[in-house]
């Protein structure tokens, strides 16, 4: 890291460039200060004005996202979005990326990603209750990608399990475009009494800034600028040299920090609190001061340091993990220190709130101490440049659009193609504690996670108080779709995420996004980003889902190749009543299988454009995506949430039985997504260990075609429903919603049969799905 040290020799021109600042940005700093910045000041601006912290390439576009709604208590710009769940309870939600650190050091990169997002949540006063991990790696036949994948999963498992927050879902994608640059996104959700909500603002001149948690070391210096805001090159030695930029996590420290901070917030001992993440102490002190409209004096000597001889710029920009900055009144200090002592959490007064509006870094608080830096606090936070970077529609899109995969020759055996598309992600989520806190009603492997809305220390409200009983969470992305058309692809991603949440009986109420894109200095990448944001805005507006927070990860490129555009969304849904488990995404023997979807001619068929089958089986990525009718989709969401509702038919009908919902007759439900009807049926067959005989799809296009707004359901036969025909009843409701339903066949037996196309054993499917990850990443089964 000597290259980026302000102490390094050389002219000032090379210094600001080595820190990641452009000549124009350096000139802007000089103009803001009215003088040349010194080395420390330059280092502080460099981290705060980095792409990662300032969103300088994306901010001009992000404002187009709809962020307001009746339930939104806190929108984008704070540490996390907060949504009113009724009855005095609120839900905090945030998604982040840790892509670059995980490419360099998979275990610690992923582990510290979990640690960082947890702090964003408990900073708001919320108890973190769930983590989701959307993961994207290079192909499994690439040794480095396997190393990254197993390291990332181990890191999430090692940190998340130990810190004591369940990991309840996510995604797992293997694709060549992520070979040099994996995407490790992490979402966290927390619950809080709405009146405990705290914001990261410093107020009250004379109040103290107390640094809680770990000592500050030399790890993670320049993480946001050198690492997260630049792409990867071909130079292995240069990439290896970035390893010290990756932070190291300590989940035991974080666990004690969570407990101590929540106790401090419960006792109302702090007036503001902020986590230390990217850009470390510089970010936490300048943001809290800027939000509070105040200034702050910070003593370098007062910061507990892990090693001797650290320079001031190292202390101020270190990204050492497991640290929080609490703003407390002098009167409360003793009480704060005593809570910290009990939890064995180190606490030190490192700053004082001033009325100057300036962030001053002092050698110490002693009289006559030297002033090392003196800048207007708000300029670090609010005056970062905003770029209108050039945008250009990629020239290659026309060729992709004209390459219609419907022209690919039909497969000889759809059954073997289907087997090759199956992946059971259980190898991953079995390594995550997904049950802690006794909230997890639908665990990983379902369409969405479903959790009781409760947490230790957060009293569940009485049922009549209007609070939601449960929350649903789903994370979704699809780079194959977005590569063909980032706007239409993103609309389809949002639509799918909302449908996943509906499949466990919830109505979507808020969304967070993680925008993973390539190098913003490439006009094609900026066009993709802008289109994706427009698509997200269109879908969220039409579906009434406000965007309450987000993260932008740029420079996802390696060896000169940008990743395919990968906007990932995390959707939060609410459930009013939770009396039963919702129908599982499984086939139930003896039931009728029906497909619900758009009524337009051919609306139930999908398209092979950007489909899993065309890519994985034929290596073909092209075509024109089928459009999403968002008005129709909104009606589908309402219908699906209602037929999958975990509320009992009669709320007075006694205790929960754990049986599938009787409020509707649907006993199994699964959305049709990538892989089309064929893969959805096979996944349901595996989940239920039950076969089927289906006669709907006539061709491989109908079998593997992908398209929006489609759901498979299982219905009991009339005899089991007291003589009434559940199919007829469902057909009435579907017609009333302006949708269509077709009878595909029946569930039962031990073979998955699609007449004329597929005839495979359920056991074959189970084994094929199970073998993929165990063979590539595991020790060959695990059990003795």
């Amino acid at each position: 890291m000597t290259d980026s040290s302000p102490a390094s020799p050389g002219a000032d021109v090379s210094l600001h460039r080595a820190l990641g600042l452009t000549d124009d940005e350096a000139a802007a700093i000089t103009s803001l200060l009215g003088r040349e910045p010194n080395h420390l000041e330059l280092a502080m601006y460099a981290v705060m004005w980095s792409e990662h912290c300032s969103y300088k390439s994306s901010r001009v576009h992000l404002g187009r996202l709809p962020s307001e709604g009746d339930r939104v208590l806190v929108g984008p710009g704070e540490n996390a979005g907060v949504v009113d769940a009724g009855g005095g309870l609120a839900v905090a939600l945030r998604i982040e990326s840790h892509n670059h650190p995980s490419a360099i050091e998979p275990y610690q990169g992923a582990a510290t990603g979990v640690g960082g997002i947890l702090r964003d949540i408990f900073t708001m006063g919320a108890r973190p209750i769930a983590i989701m991990d959307p993961l994207r790696f290079g192909p499994l036949d690439d040794a480095r990608s396997r190393w990254i994948a197993s390291g990332v999963v181990a890191g999430i498992s090692g940190y998340g399990n130990s810190v004591g927050v369940p990991t309840v879902g996510g995604e797992l994608v293997f694709d060549t475009c992520y070979a040099g640059n994996p995407l490790v996104n992490v979402l966290c959700c927390g619950v809080l009494p709405a009146d405990r909500l705290v914001l990261g603002a410093a107020t009250g001149i004379g109040n103290l800034a107390v640094l809680l948690g770990s000592s500050t070391g030399r790890d993670g210096i320049g993480g946001v600028s050198v690492l997260a805001s630049a792409g990867f090159t071909d130079d292995a030695a240069a990439e290896e040299a970035k390893r010290p930029n990756v932070q190291v996590g300590d989940p035991f420290e974080e666990k004690r920090l969570i407990e101590a901070c929540l106790e401090l917030l419960d006792a109302k001992l702090v007036v503001g609190i902020q986590d230390l993440g990217g850009a470390g102490l510089t970010c936490a002190t300048s943001e809290t001061a800027s939000r509070g409209g105040v200034g702050m004096d910070v003593s370098v000597a007062a910061v507990p340091q892990r090693e001797a001889g650290m320079e001031a710029w190292e202390v101020l920009t270190s990204e050492s993990q497991e640290r929080m900055l609490a703003i407390v009144t002098p009167a409360a200090l003793d009480a704060v220190l005593s809570v910290c002592e009990r939890w064995e959490v180190q606490a030190a007064v490192v700053g004082k709130v001033t009325g100057s509006g300036r962030l001053r870094i002092l050698t110490s608080f002693a009289p006559g101490a030297e002033v090392l830096a003196d800048v207007p606090a708000a300029t670090l936070h609010e005056d970062a440049p905003k770029y209108h970077r050039p945008m250009a529609r990629p020239a290659w899109l026309d060729d992709l659009a004209s390459a219609d995969p419907a022209r690919l020759p039909a497969p000889d055996d759809c059954g073997s193609d289907l087997l090759s598309l199956l992946v059971d992600p259980a190898w991953v989520y079995r390594q995550y504690d997904h049950q802690l806190f006794l909230n997890t009603v639908v665990a990983p492997g379902g369409d969405a996670a479903l959790l009781r809305l409760a947490a230790p220390g957060v009293r569940p409200p009485p049922p009549a108080a209007g609070a939601a009983a449960a929350i649903a969470l789903s994370t979704d992305g699809n780079a194959r779709w977005c590569a063909l058309d980032p706007r239409a692809g993103t609309i389809a991603v949002v639509a799918e995420s909302a449908l996943n949440v509906a499949c466990v009986g919830a109505r979507p109420v808020a969304l967070v996004n993680c925008l993973n894109f390539g190098n913003p200095e490439h006009p094609e990448v900026m066009w993709q980003l802008s289109e994706a944001i427009d698509g997200m805005a269109e879908a969220c507006t039409a579906l009434g889902i406000p965007v309450v927070g987000g993260n932008v990860s740029l420079y996802n490129e390696s060896r000169g190749r940008d990743i395919d555009p990968t906007p990932v969304v995390g959707t939060l849904g609410l459930v009013d009543r939770l009396e039963r488990r919702p129908p599982p995404p499984a086939l139930i023997p003896g039931t009728r299988i029906a497909l619900i979807g758009p009524p337009a001619p051919g609306g139930l068929d999908g398209s092979l454009a950007g489909s899993l089958w065309a890519d994985k089986v034929r290596g073909h990525r092209g075509g024109v995506l089928p459009p999403v009718d968002l008005q129709l989709h909104a009606r589908l969401l309402g219908l699906v949430a209602s037929i999958a509702s975990p509320a009992g038919e009669d709320p007075t009908s006694g205790p929960a039985t754990g049986e599938p919902a009787a409020g509707s007759s649907v006993v199994g439900i699964h959305d049709v997504s990538e892989g089309g009807i064929g893969l959805a049926l096979a996944e349901m067959a595996i989940a239920g260990r039950t076969g089927c005989r289906v006669s709907g799809p006539l061709t491989h296009v109908a079998l593997f075609g992908e398209g929006p707004s489609r759901v498979l359901v299982c219905l009991p036969p009339p005899a089991a429903a007291g003589g009434e025909d559940p199919y007829a009843a469902l057909a009435d409701r579907v017609a009333a919603a302006g949708l269509a339903v077709v009878d595909l066949g029946t569930a039962g037996g031990d073979r998955i049969v699609v007449e004329g196309l597929v005839d495979i054993g359920v056991d074959q499917a189970v084994e094929a799905a199970h073998a993929v990850l165990g063979d590539a990443l595991g020790l060959g089964g695990g059990a003795a």
Binding site: P251, R256, L438
Partner: protein, 226 residues
């Protein structure tokens, strides 16, 4: 009389709230006991819940066994009161030598979170009293170091004494003799890797854990009544 259960909280423990919720749902009363305390207070039984005491650094349970509260736990065990270690608590009890053997890394060398079938192998413990041998229960496991091991003589002693109380139907972690839980000779000190508190509500998939914790509360209550 309501059984009073002390739930020991080490820094890094994370299942304490879940255990308290399960005990209270079964009609018991529960209170947290900080690891730095030297007394357990007025309790009829004690549970060492799961988690990562002291981060599981060095070795699971290796640091926790030195916590001041452990002397009181040991004393309660000697007095014949129910002492149950769940998961990390089981690891602490073996490190404290209140139970024999050790828990090593799973045979698959990865963390395992899943709901598995276990069978009651002996009714001679405070946790399985009244449950017929052979009863199958579905209970979650959640551990990296759950692979129980002991020397041949100890295993023979455990088998002969009816001290192997729970066995896996399909061994997930490599434990010797499919052992999921054991007891001391008196049957009042019990360690098990599965989490009965996670199987107390049909909404979460199983309520078989109520049988085990119910037996524990009955045992503790019987002592109170005697």
């Amino acid at each position: 009389m309501t059984a009073r259960v002390g739930v020991v909280l080490f820094p890094g423990t994370n299942c304490e709230h879940d255990v308290i919720a399960a005990v209270e749902a079964l009609g018991g009363s529960a209170s947290l006991v900080w690891h730095g305390e030297t007394s357990l207070g007025d309790v009829d039984a004690v549970i060492l819940p799961g988690g990562f005491a002291h981060g599981d650094y060095l070795r699971p349970g290796a640091i926790a066994r030195f916590s001041p509260v452990m002397a009181a736990v040991s004393q309660l065990a000697s007095a014949g009161a129910p002492v149950v270690g769940i998961c990390n608590g089981f690891q602490v009890l073996t490190e404290a030598q209140l139970l024999p053997g050790a828990l090593q890394k799973n045979a698959g060398l990865s963390f395992l979170c899943d709901t598995v079938a276990i069978e009651v192998a002996s009714s001679a413990s405070v946790l399985t009293a009244g449950l017929p041998v052979g009863t199958t229960l579905r209970v979650p496991i959640n551990h990296f170091e759950g692979n129980y091991t002991c020397d041949a003589a100890t295993l023979e002693e455990l088998r002969a004494g009816g001290r192997i109380i729970l066995r896996y139907a399909d061994n997930p972690n490599g434990s010797v003799y499919d052992i999921a839980g054991i007891a001391n000779a008196a049957g009042n000190v019990v360690g098990l890797m599965p989490h009965p508190e996670r199987a107390c509500d049909p909404l979460l998939g199983s309520d078989d854990g109520r049988l085990l914790l119910g037996a524990l509360l009955a045992s503790a209550g019987a002592r109170v009544g005697s």
